[in-house]
Subunit: 506 residues, 2 copies
């Protein structure tokens, strides 16, 4: 299919804006040919007005109908998969295998949310019948209803599963919220292909026009205009701390505060007990090394911090880990911007302290390829510079040598909020890690034992989020069926006769 570079304002293609941009083929190191036209304020206004008008209609459709819409989106995506995977690869530098896996995850999520609203008590409906024996009290029925039109931001590192028809969109559409996506300028072509599938599905299943819009924009202005629009009732964002934080500030300046859920990544510390290395040094190095460099390290849960005790096996672990990372070799990053950031941010970290021992640091090429890096510092150095806690987006990890387990605990205690934390320890050392677990509990959304954090399973038992700045509100998850609760609020119906109640609530 031809990519137009235009915006979807509801079901209508539109290109009134004056800002233009192109996406980049990192693997071939050339610009892609499509010219994307950023949406202007008029188009934004139209998209939001349509979404607002669609809301009361879409909200009150049966769960079956909305589920059918979601499943049809999946069908439509599948139909255009060849084109989709082609443009995906040309806009990300990622390979067909990854593209296919991410497409399948997207399809799975659409199915999952459809199933959730069709089969589960997701509205948490509770009825308390009047008790005529005490003071006459009316019957109360509580149920969840959707908030209204939601703004969703495409994520640079998940062009499918956390962008146009990704987790935020699917969860919001499932529960009755229209969605306006601000496509990511690094993969607006991928976004347009998916948007086409969503619009087709909306038309085929008779959804109200405006249930979905897709806006392009290279500069930040449109994003801020979108989240400050009075008719936008919540925001879903996956991306960098700086991006999330800037949008958060705009949301905070609204007259009406709205829920803003941003997943802003973290450095996902892994604490490794010396006794674990004693037994499994090579195996652990292999698992962690592969997690560090998976997908060129471009995952929110990439482990960027390794906390070890400076004992005999630690140096052996460093040697093994270096071997693994070197073995993985060079990898293509999604975009020149991300490559530049990776080089700049890892260099910045490495320059903070002269004593940093750089174990894996090669000259960088002209193209978008990079190599994994590993740096080693002491706990004192780590504590001295808060900058060591900044995320390096890419295959970089910082290994800290602590004096003992107590120092690891102290270091974790001083960490900012994280998506994940991991502990590697032999099963014989349960007792000694109990205090560390207690400290980690206050810091993370997910705590792992002898496991690496990459690979976020989409299930009801997943928490993808965590204390700030890992997310902007630790009470919610961005992954799994529970993510719908970001877009829902309770409402209680009091004293309504049963026959009327069933007509006014789903």
């Amino acid at each position: 299919m031809e990519i137009t570079g235009k915006n979807f304002i509801g079901d209508r293609l539109s290109s009134l804006g004056e800002e233009h941009y192109k996406t980049f083929d990192s693997l071939r190191n050339v610009e892609n040919k499509t010219l994307f036209i950023s949406a202007n304020t008029k188009e934004l206004e139209e998209a939001v007005t349509l979404a607002d008008a669609a809301f009361p209609i879409y909200r009150d459709l049966s769960d079956t109908k909305r589920a059918f819409f979601l499943k049809t989106i999946g069908d439509e995506i599948l139909k255009i998969s060849e084109d989709l995977i082609d443009i995906y690869c040309r806009e990300t530098g990622l390979d067909v295998e990854r593209a296919t896996a991410e497409r399948d995850r997207t399809l799975f999520q659409l199915q999952l949310f459809a199933k959730t609203i069709e089969t589960e008590n997701w509205r948490n409906k509770i009825t308390k019948t009047a008790q005529p024996d005490i003071t006459p009290k009316p019957t109360l029925t509580k149920t969840n209803i959707p908030l209204g039109p939601i703004a969703v931001f495409g994520a640079s590192n998940f062009p499918l599963a956390y962008s146009t028809a990704g987790g935020d969109t699917a969860s919001a559409l499932a529960v009755g919220c229209p969605v306006i996506v601000k496509s990511h300028p690094m993969h607006s072509g991928t976004g347009e292909v998916v948007a086409t599938a969503i619009i087709r599905a909306a038309q085929k299943t008779g959804m109200p026009n405006g249930v979905f819009s897709n806006l392009n924009a290279k500069s930040y202005q449109l994003s801020h205009d979108l989240v400050r629009h009075p008719k936008i009732k919540a925001v879903g964002f996956t991306g960098s701390f700086s991006g999330g934080n800037a949008l958060q500030k705009t949301v905070f300046n609204r007259e009406e505060p709205i829920p803003f859920f941003a997943e802003m990544g973290s450095i996902n510390p892994i604490a490794i007990l010396p006794q674990a290395l004693e037994n499994d040094c090579q195996k652990i190095a292999d698992r962690i090394g592969n997690s560090i460099a998976l997908g060129a390290g471009q995952f929110c849960t990439q482990p960027g911090l390794l906390l070890t005790v400076d004992e005999a096996h630690t140096d052996q672990f460093i040697v093994e880990l270096t071997k693994v990372l070197k073995g993985l070799g060079q990898q293509c990053m999604i975009n020149p911007e991300l490559k530049k950031n990776y080089i700049r941010q890892s260099d910045k970290i490495n320059r903070l302290e002269k004593s940093i021992q750089i174990l894996s640091h090669k000259a960088q090429w002209d193209n978008q390829f990079v190599e994994p890096k590993l740096s080693v510092i002491s706990a004192d150095q780590f504590i001295a510079y808060p900058q060591f806690q900044e995320e390096v987006f890419g295959p970089f990890s910082l290994l800290v040598k602590c004096k003992n387990l107590k120092e690891i605990e102290r270091l974790v205690f001083n960490l900012k909020g994280q998506l994940t934390g991991s502990i590697f320890a032999p099963k014989t050392h349960y007792k000694s890690i109990l205090p560390l677990i207690q400290v980690f509990k206050s810091k993370v959304g997910r705590l792992l034992f002898n496991d690496v954090p990459t690979g976020v399973e989409v299930t009801a038992a997943m928490t993808h989020g965590g204390p700030y700045p890992a997310s902007s509100d630790s009470r919610f998850t961005a992954v799994g069926p529970g993510s719908i609760y970001r877009w829902l609020r309770p409402i209680t119906f009091q004293n309504w006769p049963k026959e009327l109640l069933k007509k006014i609530i789903n």
Copy 2:
């Protein structure tokens, strides 16, 4: 018992501050004798530090132990009830009957939250066992844990049930969050008596010191210092829009955003169909009139807006309602400040439009007594002045005469968010009110049929909250067991052996 006027910094009485104030006996129209000493920044710091240190200990106590603490707070309150009700009446102008009812509601809530954590799956624990048949995936267990120390603000109109040991405090303590209460300066004596009971209960049940502190303050500075403190992890507030909004701004300026739940009241519109008045004019006037003036109209759910259709029975309804309100006569307001606000705000509303017909407006006395007021305007007038949507805290209501039901719908569509909305209609007019119900759904936290909004039942089916500005986050309720979710976040444990998991999660 003697009231000291001091602050509880954990279990220690402290009075280092330089600001002093007294509470007021509205019924007798005199100041009470106790001099209250506002907490200073040092005391605030101590209270927060203690709460922060108590948190990991308190968080990991068994549900049984925390439930026992809550029940013991109830026992201790009951023991000092005579003193409590005496000071309550002397600080509020409310009578013994109301004091007793509110005490009983407080005791009920403590019991309810104790029962909730002892008997219900409030942690929403979910385990997803590894499935060895597909790609090896680890077992995930998701559970809720508390956020950390919570700041709670005493409410002017609920000195017991929504203040020191009220809903916010009880729900936070139940799930493992230490609480720091900023007592309301209108009833700091009542607050101190209750705080004494909480501290005694904490000591008797072996809770860590710092699990509860009670701070006095007349000026606003301490409140803002409290909510901007980095160790405070969430805020519960019940009060005015201006107070809630000011605190919200301070929260938004924190480096780390935290959940801020404010219930800021509303005007609780009641739409009355002409056909309802045709059948039950007097009965409806009686119910609504009593709801308007209940407790001198000092409830968040007081109906301040009556939407009628200008037809034959409407004038009869106004006559009947005026009769009811006049019959209720003068009532004592909680505090001179609230009386002043009531006069000022109702006068302001009445002056907005010359054509306002004031149906119940008497000269006001030197003491703290007031009379109910009722004003009548047209829909056009209401729409012309957004000020008509401002809450008048007290026994005032504004009756709007609309041309027809469509105009009522349009008016509701233009309303800000509300705690409640009500529709009075005969059961024969289901169909005609369906569009109005749809409009109301986007505006309220609770929608009533042939019922008045005052009297908020404490049950799992209650929603006390609603779209902004009724509350700052419509996704939560301030009343009922569900209110605990304001203070909880999910955490997932991945790949932990069962025998260890049961030691690290409750």
